[in-house]
């Protein structure tokens, strides 16, 4: 609690104690003496409200809550309801205190969640390690990161190996190991070894700063419910106030006209009850608080949402369009299958890798990587590239042909026909077929589960777009259980396809596009919601997307949708709950069934419950 809050707390305790004492004293009802005694706790608890109300009137701001509370309580005192007058003020202050405490706490909670802001960078100055403000470190400087410290600025490891805890950035607890020449991003915590890093960016341009900036400015794009609530608040208070005036005047006047007792005090009391309920605080605070908590919780899970409107839209996502390479697949080529014919697997892979030793093609690289051992170039002779077909080499006296089906045809070898996604490398030893190696872009281990999770989260149509051949695409789509696939697309075609899909959806449904953010920026911005994944360190993707998944796990897509749904559910719960209770109390108050105590509950109680409910949006662990 801060100073301001503590002071209010002291006043609340003092006023409450005085009130208890006054209620216990045997004082005569409605005596001047009793009135004067009750003024002490009243002013103790309410002097600032009365002062603010007075300033409000001076500034022609009649409908502010201070004014309403002042009128309601002064009115109650005037009617002789001293206890209620003080109590309304007391509970109003308790409510305000709770609200400011809860908000302060969730502000701190959320900033703690996003505790990736590095405080300092270690720089070698004159042979000694000095802590400096990361803002002052220039691009290309060398910084040292000790175990347990945060990496302050993006850079490249020069020296040292270590494991990094990326949990604060990605929500993933699996540590990432780094070695010299690896790129590292700010915000990760160095866990084991000392790292010497050459910075590649300024602090302000580094990942940690960018992310913090993004999260902190997220709620400037306001969602529909938020706009609705601010409009509602502007209308609600005046309407209730005028109703209160009408309630105080009309029934007594009508009663007088038809000749029965006007009963002024009863109607004025009811009108004052209205004023207590007229403050829109519960609504106005709980909606942005829910979104703030939702965005904070999502960042904790490694999902950056750029505005509360995107949470709203995500919760209504019905069509998910995904890019294949890098989104559903790993995006790197790997040997996925080795099928030897009359030779051993090891021999097939070894000879193939050796034959490809001089090539830098991605496929050759993946072969060499699969082989995994250093290649002695002395054993290989007569390497000959056969353009468009493959390569021929003599290895230890054996002529090895490595290439596609055409090459096999050319040298008169019958190759097995293979119908599997990926690139097939046929191999022949001395003119005899030795088998094939399949190189493909592997599916991510969670892709299949991710698609079913998305369907579970309400996605009706899952679509994959790819530049790959139709054959490969169909197999991948079948494996994953996707609804539709469009293959052999050029980047521009992807935009066209997304536009076609946008035309098919109903107005309130939303289309999400998920890509790796590298070359699909136009599609990301064309979709209702563009989601970039694995965007850690990629500024372009963070820039273009509406939602950024910090790691490249496709499961996060469904997670993001579920977080959004939970958040929106809480938002609507709060709207219906708060408006419902208030209207119910207004009606009960008008017909005389609700007294001021119930009105206080409608105001303060609803606010407390709505705030507590809003904070639930922060918990995204199991959604």
């Amino acid at each position: 609690m801060n100073k301001k809050q503590k002071k209010v707390l002291m006043r609340i305790i003092a006023a409450a104690a005085m009130m208890v004492v006054l209620l216990l004293l045997p004082l005569e009802e409605k005596s001047i003496f009793r009135f004067l005694l009750f003024l002490i706790p009243y002013f103790t608890i309410g002097y600032d409200i009365l002062l603010k109300a007075f300033k409000g009137i001076r500034n022609k701001q009649v409908f502010d809550e201070n004014f309403l509370m002042a009128v309601a309580t002064i009115g109650a005192m005037a009617l002789g309801e001293y206890t209620e007058g003080v109590a309304v003020m007391l509970f109003y202050q308790i409510g305000e205190l709770f609200q400011s405490y809860a908000i302060g706490k969730s502000r701190r909670n959320i900033s703690a969640l996003m505790d990736i802001r590095p405080d300092f960078a270690n720089v070698m100055i004159d042979g000694s390690l000095t802590q400096v403000d990361p803002d002052e470190v220039e691009v290309g400087s060398e910084i040292i990161v000790q175990p347990g410290e945060k990496i302050p600025i993006d850079g490249v490891v020069l020296d040292g190996t270590s494991t990094l805890d990326t949990a604060a950035l990605t929500g993933e607890s699996v540590p990432r190991s780094v070695k010299p020449a690896d790129e590292v991003i700010s915000g990760c915590i160095n866990m084991s070894g000392v790292l010497k890093i050459r910075t590649t960016k300024e602090f302000g341009e580094s990942t940690a700063s960018k992310i913090l900036d993004l999260v902190e400015n997220a709620s400037s794009k306001k969602s529909k419910p938020e706009n609705f609530i601010s409009k509602f608040a502007r209308v609600y208070t005046p309407v209730v106030c005028y109703s209160a005036v009408a309630l105080a005047l009309l029934p007594p006047v009508v009663s007088l006209l038809i000749g029965i007792d006007a009963n002024w005090s009863q109607w004025v009391y009811r009108a004052l009850t209205f004023l207590v309920i007229s403050c829109p605080c519960a609504l106005v605070i709980s909606i942005p608080l829910t979104f703030f908590a939702g965005i904070g919780g999502a960042s904790k899970a490694g999902v950056l949402v750029k505005g509360s409107n995107y949470l709203d839209m995500l919760s209504k996502a019905k069509i998910a369009v995904m890019d294949k390479t890098g989104t559903l697949t790993e995006g790197v080529f790997k040997v996925t299958k080795i099928v030897p014919v009359n030779v051993t697997k090891e021999e097939l892979l070894e000879k193939t890798a050796i034959a490809e030793v001089y090539s830098n093609h991605p496929i050759s690289k993946s072969l060499k990587e699969a082989y995994g051992k250093p290649i002695n170039t002395g054993s290989v002779a007569d390497v000959e590239e056969i353009s468009g077909h493959g390569v021929k080499a003599v290895i230890g006296g054996i002529t090895v042909n490595v290439g596609n089906e055409k090459l096999m045809e050319k040298i008169g070898v019958t190759a097995q026909s293979v119908r599997e996604p990926g690139t097939v490398i046929h191999v022949a030893f001395n003119g005899n077929y030795a088998g094939y190696i399949l190189i493909s872009d592997e599916l991510k281990p969670t892709s299949k589960a991710a698609i079913s999770a998305m369907k579970h989260a309400g996605i009706l149509n899952t679509v994959m777009l790819t530049g790959d051949s139709a054959q490969v695409a169909e197999i991948v789509a079948g494996d994953l259980g996707l609804d539709k696939v469009y293959a052999e697309l050029l980047p521009a075609d992807k935009v066209t396809k997304v536009e076609e899909l946008l035309a098919t959806k109903k107005e309130k449904e939303q289309l999400i596009f998920v890509g790796d953010g590298i070359n699909d920026a136009p599609v990301l911005s064309r979709a209702d919601i563009g989601i970039a994944m694995g965007a850690l360190g990629s500024d372009a993707a963070i820039e273009a997307a509406d939602v950024v998944l910090m790691d490249d796990d496709p499961m996060k897509i469904a997670k993001a949708i579920n977080i959004a749904k939970k958040c929106m559910r809480i938002v609507y719960e709060n709207i219906y709950f708060a408006i419902g209770i208030k209207i119910a109390c207004l009606i009960l108050g008008a017909i005389g069934l609700a007294n001021m105590w119930l009105a206080i509950f409608a105001d303060v109680g609803v606010m407390v419950i709505a705030v507590l409910n809003a904070i639930r949006a922060l918990r995204v662990h199991n959604v």
């Binding site: 500034n59 609200q99 709620s219 608040a233 605080c281």
Partner: protein, 72 residues
Amino acid sequence: MKKTYKIDVDCANCANKMEQAAKNTAGVADATVNFMALKMNVEFEEGVDVKAVMAEVLANCKKVEDDCEIFL
């Protein structure tokens, strides 16, 4: 031109009022107040004196909510 200012205000509805007051100030094209982050984003109209406009924004905000602050 856009600028972000840190603000201090106690209640959410007051933040909404500040937003409205800032929007209605001459020279301000658009303004949003983020109560949770305690920030005000102001988009200025072309060629206005930012300092003078912000002084006016602060004065207008003070009118609607006495207990608020904009850190200029």
